[in-house]
Subunit: 181 residues, 2 copies
DNA sequence: TTAGTATATATCAAAACGATATATCAAATT
DNA sequence: AATTTGATATATCGTTTTGATATATACTAA
């Protein structure tokens, strides 16, 4: 029955613990799960509209009586079932698209400085993102008695562990390029 | 000028050291760069057709006189310029979509066994992929005098380093779920 | 021989991206 | 007081990409 659109699961997941507008959803995707997931307005708004028709979520009457339009959504019982089914489904696709690695893979014909520079740009970005992740981690460490927080904490440590591995690799990679090329 | 389609760069990169058919390109994407990039036939064939019209690649006359259709492509001088421009362009987007982490992030409402099982499925896949990467690494280690092989080697070590970090995280994550949930 | 797998091209609906348009609101600047 | 900037908020559109399917030949192993 379910069309298995990934953005639907992201939205249902976020709505499962808080009522949110489309804009809120975009912010949470960028901030809370941005280091392992991406989502754009162009997929969020159509998904909200479709899921509302399917009864997985419902619109909440706007209390901001002002002319300003603002639509908060709440997950329904049916929506919670869809989310639970997806969580229990063994299927999971983990897709990465690393343009930095693509450029490195194809960079053998260029001067080594080009590849080294591309690695340094990557390194800079990762260092900056790592700071944010460590900040999240320090906040979550204090509230590990809460089950949901344990789950958030685990995704953050995934980010930190992999980003630290990236940084070590960046040093090794630059060194090897300088030695061998 | 250039529409900056990522699949175009992948194809040009692969064609820059070998003439290939669309099918060959798909195989190389899956095998050589599959651990950090994905690409489907549905994007490859249209891209080949467009780039041939734009003069970035050209069709090679089929020598397999049989009725069987088979089109090999070769990169042109113009295509090499497009590839070089992209390599020197600082812009690079590194996008990941980890459904496993998504399920973990939203898994706080389910029983811990669901999350642990999802981690174990991920762990199994990573262990299997890691074997393949280590095989690639051992082959590339012997030919590091070649500049292009150094570049291939670096992407493979990236995969190995990050996959090993993933595995360490899997153990930690399962342990924490058992302790705290 | 025949079933299954690999090779090979191509297309299509659906999903997602990325950019843009529109508009309100709050805060900072002039 | 007026203006500009940046954040909030919804929505749409062309393009890209996915994932599935269709079609057909070649090779290989039971």
């Amino acid at each position: 029955m379910g069309k298995d659109r990934k953005i639907d699961m992201v939205i249902l997941g976020l709505l499962s613990h808080e009522d949110l507008t489309g804009y809120d959803i975009k912010k949470q995707i960028d901030e809370a799960i941005g280091f392992f997931w991406k989502g754009s307005f162009g997929s969020i708004y159509p998904a909200l509209s479709d899921m509302e028709k399917n009864g997985f979520i419902k619109k909440l009457p706007d209390k901001n009586s002002s002319g300003r339009e603002k639509i908060k959504y709440r997950i329904t019982k049916q929506g919670k079932e869809v989310l639970a089914d997806w969580l229990k489904d063994e299927q999971a696709s983990n897709d990465l698209k690393y343009e930095t690695l693509l450029k490195l893979y194809f960079g053998g014909a260029e001067k080594k400085e080009v590849s080294i520079h591309n690695i340094e740009l990557f390194e800079k970005q990762i260092k900056s993102d790592l700071q944010i992740l460590k900040f999240y981690q320090s906040n979550l460490e204090k509230v590990l008695d809460n089950k949901e927080h344990v789950h958030y904490y685990l995704t953050v440590t995934f980010g930190i562990d992999t980003y630290e591995a990236y940084l070590k690799w960046c040093s090794k990679a630059k060194k090897l390029l300088n030695e061998k090329c």
